[in-house]
Symmetry: C2
Subunit: 308 residues, 2 copies
Amino acid sequence: MTQYKHVALIGLGLIAGSMSLAMRRAGMDVHITGTARSAETRAKALELGLVDAVFDTAAEAVKGADLIVLAVPIGAMGTVAAEIAPHLKAGATVTDVGSVKAAVVTAVAPHIPDNVHFIPGHPMAGTEKSGPEAGLAHLFDNRWCLLTPPEDVDQNALATLKSFWISLGAMVEEMEPDHHDLVAVVISHAPHLIAYTMVGVADDMSRVTKQEVVNYSAAGFRDFTRIAASDPTMWRDVFLHNKDATLEVLGRFTEELFALQRAIRTGDGDFLFDYFTRTRNIRRSIIDAGQDTDAVDFGRGPHAEDET
Amino acid sequence: MTQYKHVALIGLGLIAGSMSLAMRRAGMDVHITGTARSAETRAKALELGLVDAVFDTAAEAVKGADLIVLAVPIGAMGTVAAEIAPHLKAGATVTDVGSVKAAVVTAVAPHIPDNVHFIPGHPMAGTEKSGPEAGLAHLFDNRWCLLTPPEDVDQNALATLKSFWISLGAMVEEMEPDHHDLVAVVISHAPHLIAYTMVGVADDMSRVTKQEVVNYSAAGFRDFTRIAASDPTMWRDVFLHNKDATLEVLGRFTEELFALQRAIRTGDGDFLFDYFTRTRNIRRSIIDAGQDTDAVDFGRGPHAEDET
């Protein structure tokens, strides 16, 4: 197992920026090249030191790279793969950080030459911010990176990629692409769509003013707006490319919502109480697993406790 | 306008506890009595210094009080009002902190003697914790407390109650009970119900294990579990007592969700992109209004930034 000497980041947003900062933090002896669609993003990434060299095209950025990370919206993955294919070094590994896996495999795999390894990935971490300035060196610490390697994957290439993610702070798990896509809907895509929906409803209620929604948002709504502030392009592509699993989970969601709605209409307090008690328990498991803190959150920022 | 010399807290949970701590912080010269249904809560509140004296019954706790705060679940408001009515001091003010107002007016007002003022209220602040230990002195700072006074309210009594809430850190607004109840559904009740629903769906998906949901929750789901960890009794009562407004907003929510679902099914990327862009803007307004911070939230607690 070797270490990557040259990593190319295709797309320079929150995830690629965080990967660069995490590589620097780990003290990796690595040359980082990169590209992004907009000249402004390319200049900003260079200025922030996220890349050692920046290129106008993905074709140039990948030349000589051992690891190529596709960190563009899902809908752009196929085009980028076609562009870089002729320029990939023999023995290199191509991975991605897309939130959907089956669609990425379909779009990218046909373009990858036989002498290059393609191992799709999805680091399950993020914030509501986007762009190169949004990167955080510790974004992946104690978070899971899911890899969906093909059955005939080169074991050395897989071990090297796993080791790379662990160096960035992550834990690594392997999964089938289809199963990944269903899990991702439950824990990420559906919650985002529902948050977007609720914010849309609030924005659109004619009998409640926008000022009322904003002023009184601390009562729960605020947390939805945080989730619904995520990058619109990224999320459009996620839903367009993970259609079946999304529609399946939304169907379950609606069924469940109707059951609660019916309990409200008929005044079935026991049903509501039991439901709310059951959902409370799962939070304890998440805190125990180190995936959230038990600190109360009420929108006051890091030093709220100091104010008392 | 005078100040309260004796405040009685009926119910000693998150809100009553925070009110006590905020009164102490403001340096009010006030005697605080209280009661709670469970002996354990009463003992804990006394131990924490939230009350100067604790009583087994609400009837005893309100004796001689200038301000009586009903801080019990909505469904218990009427019973408590009936119990305390014969023991209220002439000229005293009764208020409450319930999340629903029309139902509280209906349940409480008939019991209040003519020589006592009843001014319902709802401080729009909270955390996902409950119980007397959950109190925070700064919970109400820069948050809105909505009052729904009757038309013939005594102006002195109203001014004194407003001044009291301002001393606790809050801003005060008056509103009609029915309008309050609709606003509350949009910014609080519906988001909570939807979060409970999504957590219920995740808990119930047979093809996704509970361990997967817990491990990968950092991708959005985690924020829903925080909201869905709120007190089950409180929320059961909220939905049972604000039925019409809840069902109206849920109807709008479902309509909106179906529009997004249809866009996903038909592959209408423009519809999705425009929707996600619009909802992003409302977050900026909330941050500008000081109702949330712009700090990224990814579940790492107050000192996350120090880890880099």
